[in-house]
Symmetry: C2
Subunit: 228 residues, 2 copies
Amino acid sequence: MSATSPSERTRVRRHSERARYDEEIVHAILDEGFVGHLAFVDDGHPLCVPMLYARKGATLYLHGSPHSRVLGLAGEGARLCLTVTLIDGLVLARSAFHHSINYRSVVIVGAGRPVTDREEKLESMRILVDHIVPGRSADARGPSDGELKATEMVAMTIEEASAKIRTGPPMDSKGDLELPAWAGVLPVGLVAGQPIADEYNSQPLPDYISSVVGRDPRAALRSDPEPA
Amino acid sequence: MSATSPSERTRVRRHSERARYDEEIVHAILDEGFVGHLAFVDDGHPLCVPMLYARKGATLYLHGSPHSRVLGLAGEGARLCLTVTLIDGLVLARSAFHHSINYRSVVIVGAGRPVTDREEKLESMRILVDHIVPGRSADARGPSDGELKATEMVAMTIEEASAKIRTGPPMDSKGDLELPAWAGVLPVGLVAGQPIADEYNSQPLPDYISSVVGRDPRAALRSDPEPA
């Protein structure tokens, strides 16, 4: 099964016209996001926690579980589902019914394993830091042996993936077009504000931070997949 | 059990100093967000899909599943977990190890039920539209009988909830403070761009949209819980 073949489990059923299975689109969404929501089954119950992640090929590296159970479960090869959603706009139709949001999301299904190999762990940490702030790992001190040991990374192989994208204006019914309501899209997105140096800082602001102030810090990573 | 009493399932174990169980904080995070990630168990496998939601008291109304299975499961009273995460900043420490993000998240556990009562469904749709764009439901045409029938809403009672908040500067080790790396926080948040009227629009932009352009459209909803 290719990295992005949908099974019955991941095939998008509702609004299937919004579904995409292309690997390129799935990867583009994953690469623009940095916080995913990881679902797993804990003693028969569903749980969902936010995780930082970064991608290398068909492997996702996950970090920062607020819920260490997932690391234990991942070590046992538990089934995982990571979902990443980028919010692009609020869609204001003339009818309440046709209100929606523009978004790009991807659902990944796979199994987890703990990253135990020293080199893989070092690389996964570097990839993660550079994914969240491109260029940052060159400036940050790398992990000591103790820090490496204290860091828990989970590798998740992308076994199945499906993306879903909504873009464009509201889709009002023809009979509603004359209604006296403003209709259109309010774009929304993540934007970086003014950096706040900590109280010990004596260093100038690096370009990779100053260059994204007032902008979407992920914009440079965006590949703009064709709208559905 | 009160609305926000943690069980062993929802009690935050990792970085427990960041955990909050106060109902007020949980509600504030829920009310500022509008896209949640809903996890459920599908034939033993975890799945996670993004959902629009709004809160009324201890009930969450969910809409817009890209995955209609969840509606069937909810109808059977399946266990659900809805997680909402607000991203507030990128935390750049001097060491890779201490990199983090500032965020506010909440994990809600409960059971779902389909909303079948006509009045409850009408109200839940109105609440949802007004949650995503406050003030909007007064301008949008309400649902027809056919639209009401075609809309599937799920009500989820908040049985357990826990919030987790990270805020403030990086927490570098003392021995790292002299390292030549800029350290601090790059605030990030959702910001609304310029509204794009659709091609049929002949109406002026309402205040509830123009007033949030260039700002966080949710800022007015923010109650700024005390940092941990």
